[in-house]
Assembly symmetry: C2
Homo-oligomer: 374 residues x 2
């Protein structure tokens, strides 16, 4: 056993993406120093792997000077609009931003550390990586979703290609694409393919292009809706709503997409799956109770109800019907988690009160869900 192995951390954060970096800064602000952020690759690795063309749907604007956080900031005092000079960062740009945040706040990041197992043992956690077993009083699971695409939604899904595995739409062979899933990533795929003069059929079980709500977790973003109005999108893309896919088959050099009502779509290129992510949570699924919808059941402090000391940060956080996807939503819970942890460690963490005025401390969920009247 190496010296490292016997050290007892106060907190281990799993994942150095938006959630891991954001909650890491909050831990620092709470006065916690004895912690480590582990990442399978490095800071922002999942963003780094986004398709080259894919951009954030939420616009960044440097509004720090009026006390309003940039929508895509993971911490107070930073703004990707300022550091990157773009409104809709690409994944690679945002990864660079996260690296600069980690550097400025001197976050203790341990890269190339793939977590294989998290176990509760006596009063602490044992976190196993390929090379070490680390010990910690508390654990924050902040691993992302992007590297864990949802892969088996229907028979034959293994014949399709998930959009998360595409390095660049420009490099895809073929002229004719079927995209299954019409939300943000489906529209993104169709938009870029149509930019490259490909023909696209965009299939969805519902009709996300017409949802009338101002709730951004449900409605398609303005960014995507505007893209759908581009001349080339309209010319190249056929929208096929209310068409649940039942199976995908291969017939010689063609792919067959079978849908409800006996509909059949064929293409020579593998159909693209734009249907979201399973997430990394299965790695720790035994440490959480499950809600009816499969998401982990959490305490009011985002702690596991069956494994005390294990917290969850990121887009998988759910409370009642509140969905915390997108950075500007789940970032509002970083301080809640940091405060709960500081309290367990006996620290006052007064600096975290500052998070409230920045809209970064959401402990009253009653304010959520307000829609627009116009």
């Amino acid at each position: 056993m190496t010296e490292e192995d016997v050290h007892l951390f106060d907190v281990l954060v799993i994942g150095a993406g938006a959630a891991g970096v954001g909650v890491g800064v909050a831990l620092k602000h709470a006065g916690i120093d004895n912690f480590l952020i582990l990442d399978r690759y490095q800071v922002g690795a999942s963003f780094e792997r986004w398709p080259e063309e894919t951009q954030f749907i939420t616009p960044s604007f440097p509004t720090n000077s009026i006390g309003m956080l940039d929508l895509n900031s993971v911490a107070i005092g930073v703004s990707p609009a300022y550091s990157l000079g773009v409104e809709h960062p690409t994944g690679k740009e945002f990864a660079a931003h996260l690296c600069s945040v980690a550097a400025v706040f001197e976050l203790p990041v341990c890269k190339d550390a793939e977590v294989l197992q998290v176990k509760r043992f006596d009063d602490c956690f044992l976190v196993e990586t390929a090379e070490h077993t680390l010990r910690s009083k508390l654990v924050i699971w902040a691993a992302g979703e992007f590297q864990y695409p949802q892969a088996k939604p229907f028979p034959g899904a293994e014949l399709c290609r998930h959009t998360a595995t595409i390095p660049s739409y420009e490099d895809l062979d073929g002229d004719d694409f079927i995209v299954i899933g019409g939300y943000e990533s489906g529209v993104d795929a169709a938009y870029h393919l149509s930019c490259y003069d490909k023909r696209v059929r965009l299939i969805d079980a519902g009709c996300p292009w017409e949802d009338e709500t101002s709730e951004p977790s449900v409605a398609l973003s303005t960014f995507s809706l505007e893209r759908m109005q581009a001349e080339w999108f309209e010319a190249q893309t056929e929208l096929i709503p209310h068409c649940p896919v039942s199976k995908v088959l291969r017939d010689g050099d063609k792919y067959q997409v079978h849908a409800a009502g006996g509909l059949l779509f064929e293409s020579r290129s593998a159909p693209l799956l734009a249907i979201g992510f399973e997430g990394s949570l299965r790695l720790v699924s035994d440490l959480f109770e499950k809600r009816e919808d499969g998401y982990p059941l959490l305490s009011e402090q985002d702690e596991s109800t069956v494994t005390p000391g294990l917290f969850l940060c990121g887009p998988a956080v759910r409370h009642d019907h509140h969905v915390f996807c997108y950075i500007y939503k789940y970032r509002q819970r970083f301080a809640v988690v940091a405060k709960a942890i500081a309290t367990q460690l006996g620290l006052p963490a007064e600096e975290l009160e500052n998070y409230r005025k920045w809209g970064m401390y959401l402990d009253d969920l009653s304010c959520c869900g307000e829609e627009c009247v116009c």
Copy 2:
């Protein structure tokens, strides 16, 4: 004297633009009903007159459901991103949004009422329009700037055309333009002209394209910086920094722009002035003390220091070095003014406390001015 003339209003708001509509909603929320908003034309008229191509530089996104106001909202519960479905509204689009806000909140707007004079008389104000003299206990000056371009910055400026007077860049005759002023509206002019394949020389006394700050009142917006990277902008536009213009002359069919250091620029089209606005304040300049920089001196409640009962809303509001331009900044003072007025009228205005959690109640200026670290 008509019956209307003897009615005593609690408040008259001058101007039904972003400031007038926004503070009007705040008055409603404060429980004030006996008020009227006067506009020379109609709701949003100044935005209606923007050049057709000009868009908001601040991005809209419908974040109401997480308690974060759309950057371009003038009131809680509304979002131009949601009602318009665009990220950077044009002036005409935003005017339509303001009309819908006025309708939803049932604001008492009196259009086609040009205010000629505001006088303090006994314990009330007399507000003269072409047709009526209205009486009111209190007045909010919320008239805009756009219809009052700064016109005489140097000799010969009258030979130039202010960008605020251009209905559409597409319809401008000529192939070769000199734009004087390189901030947002100058870059906007150059961008659209270059889109239409015109050659542009963009002249500024400083070098706004390189200011390194995250303060959006000073730095060029991401929107403009991204436009400057467009292929056609780079191909068609020549940037001429550190070049204060001394005079403009006409020589036959040519315009001559003389600048510091003996530089001379010629064009057949009238030079375009993109140098900001004088504002409407001269109409009531005798009712305010002046700061050293010419802006009106205001109490902590944005009330005139020499004419009690007269309040100011809009982009001309200044406190110390704090500039409240852009809607997302000056909107933070609507509730401050509404609260001061409610207090004078003996109303508790408790509902205004709700403005705080939406970042719409800025009474502590110490939080302002925070820049980004990265």
